[in-house]
């Protein structure tokens, strides 16, 4: 394999530590959060050590340098996504990015393309993370709009057969995930974006599980909003991104300093995007850290990372399917699928399985993965999820297989 995982792992200090009595750390929980290369940890630390000042204000050298660093990070995000600088807004995380869209739509003037009434519809899917479901449930509740959704097939794919009756002339927004955090399914966007735009709706894409793992060019995706979290893409916690090409038409969500143009005692006008959406002193060190993370990913190459993960996902799925009583929830091949693989093992409860795996140094996620309606639909109370990233290799999968077999003996 041309992809050198051993070399990659040397860049991540956490792999120098051991787990539970000197066992090798087998980290298969990158779907929850990724580990960080030293360059990211240092970029965040160096901002505080050498450059720290409030950006976009202050008449001093540090403020200039801090602003350059922060705006430099925005440029890196833009270039990573094939976007323009003014299309990138920094948030706290993807959850905030998605809430920003939902709340800003709620603030839209009556009659604007974003304003919702009881005649309008919001469309989501059954495989959404709670972060891309509840903000829309709440927006529907506040405006009286109707919430509709695409169902998930038993194979873990979106059922698009009724697309024209789900997305209708009354649909104002279609919010969906690019890649399911539970099933690993990569959703086909073309039919959905075409139908949404045909009826004048905007498309909001939760790209938390795709941006860190595959090449993304927002111009080709044909969506209107895209959200992702820095911490799942090797970056620090506390920074997320919202990309949009229609920011100018959208009213602000959070109000305060930095986001204004003029202010009187009774009124205010807004700065142009992206600053209109970045009220207050922003998460500067975290944005700079994210910039370093995207540099790191770009140096390795997103296509190489994607190819490595697809190959490894195939190895993971094949190995899991050899284990008696193990059942994969989601696609059982690597077609349009990323490296999040959820499964159940006989009647061993995922929480017990996860505990045993931990005793062997294997870190996985168990539960409903913040997608409770999906696990209900799939008819399982919970699942165990192994999720891969660029620093995983076949030895991590082998450790997982061995540990699952061990758990079957332990709980027999």
């Amino acid at each position: 394999m041309s992809f050198d995982v051993t070399k990659v792992r040397k860049d991540f200090p956490i792999f120098e530590r051991t787990i539970r009595d000197a066992k090798k750390l087998v980290y298969l929980d990158s779907g929850a959060t990724s580990q960080k290369p030293l360059s990211v940890i240092e970029a965040e630390g160096n901002f505080y050590k050498f450059t720290n000042a409030a950006v976009h204000r202050g008449a001093h050298q540090l403020a200039e340098e801090a602003t350059d660093a922060y705006e430099g990070a925005r440029l890196k995000v833009a270039s990573f996504l094939g976007a323009k600088e003014e299309e990138i807004v920094f948030t706290k995380n993807a959850t905030e990015s998605l809430n920003l869209v939902a709340y800003a739509m709620g603030n839209a003037q009556p009659g604007s393309r974003f304003a919702l009434t009881s005649k309008d519809q919001i469309v989501v899917t059954e495989m959404e993370h709670h972060a891309n479901l509840i903000p829309w449930q709440q927006l529907a509740a506040r405006t009286g709009a109707e919430l509709k959704w695409f169902e998930v097939t038993p194979e873990g794919r979106l059922d698009l057969s009724a697309i024209n009756s789900i997305i209708t002339e009354n649909t104002k927004v279609v919010a969906l995930t690019h890649q399911s955090n539970v099933l690993g399914t990569i959703n086909p966007l073309e039919a959905i974006t075409a139908r949404a735009h045909e009826v004048g709706a905007v498309v909001v894409l939760d790209a938390c599980q795709s941006v860190p793992h595959m090449p993304i060019d927002v111009k080709k995706l044909n969506v209107d909003f895209l959200a992702f979290s820095g911490h799942k893409a090797l970056g620090p916690t506390g920074v997320g991104v919202l990309w949009s090409s229609v920011f100018e038409e959208l009213p602000p969500f959070l109000f305060g300093g930095s986001m204004i143009e003029t202010v009187t005692m009774t009124s205010a006008t807004w700065a142009p995007a992206p600053r209109k959406f970045e009220a207050g002193v922003p998460n500067m060190a975290q944005a700079v850290g994210l910039g370093a993370a995207l540099d790191y990913l770009t140096d390795i190459g997103m296509q190489s990372i994607f190819d490595h993960e697809v190959e490894l996902t195939g190895y993971l799925i094949n190995g899991l399917l050899q284990i008696p009583e193990l059942s994969i929830v989601g696609p059982r091949n690597t077609d349009a699928r990323g490296g999040s693989v959820s499964f159940t093992v006989g009647h061993i409860h995922p929480h017990d399985l996860g505990q045993y795996l931990d005793s062997q140094g294997v870190a996985v996620r168990t539960g409903h993965h913040c997608a409770w309606p999906l696990t209900r639909k799939l008819g399982v109370p919970a699942t165990t999820r192994a999720s891969l990233y660029l620093y995983n290799d076949e030895s991590d999968c082998d450790a997982l297989f061995a540990a699952i077999t061990g758990a079957q003996k332990y709980f027999a």
Binding site: R20, D21, H349, P350, H351, D352, Q355, Y356, S359, T366, G367, H368, W372, T375, P381, A382, Y410, F411
Partner: protein, 149 residues
């Protein structure tokens, strides 16, 4: 192995052969509790006669710790007064919060001392307490609606 302190034989026994599982037709109070972080759910019925707990039945899905713990609680707290049950519950809660420093008094807690190891695994304490908190809730409801009768 550290894991063995968590998965005591007694716990796995209760998990495989749970006591009082299957909801009674009649009850003084019925409660439904969930652990939102993992999706464990239980429904618990409590019946009292003359201020004494006469029956605890339950149904649910969850991990071995949550299911064994509710099985143990349903056996331990029956035929106790609410005051006695409250004292046992408090002792159990203290044990769960002990971070592995307490063994638990077997005269009071009986099989529940087997759950002492849970206190060393912070993520599992909620699992162990699920059924007990459901009982506490049910007890409050019975005593506010019927005065314990």
């Amino acid at each position: 192995m550290e894991l063995d302190s968590l998965y005591q034989e007694v716990i796995l026994d209760h998990y495989k052969h749970p006591l009082n599982k299957g909801l009674s037709e009649n009850y003084g109070a019925q409660v439904h509790h969930v652990n939102p972080s993992c999706g464990d759910e239980i429904t618990l019925n409590v019946t009292a006669i003359d201020g004494k707990i006469s029956a605890i039945t339950w149904d649910g899905v969850g991990c071995s710790i949550s299911q064994a713990s509710v099985s143990i609680a349903s056996d331990l707290l029956v035929n106790k007064s609410f005051a006695e049950a409250d004292a046992i519950l408090n002792e159990f809660t203290e044990l769960m919060q002990s971070k592995g420093t307490k063994e638990g008094n077997p005269d009071v807690l009986e099989d529940a001392v087997a759950l002492a190891g849970v206190s060393k695994f912070p993520a599992r304490i909620k699992c162990a307490l699920l059924g007990w908190m459901a009982f506490k809730d049910a007890a409050v409801r019975i005593n506010t609606t019927t005065g314990g009768e």
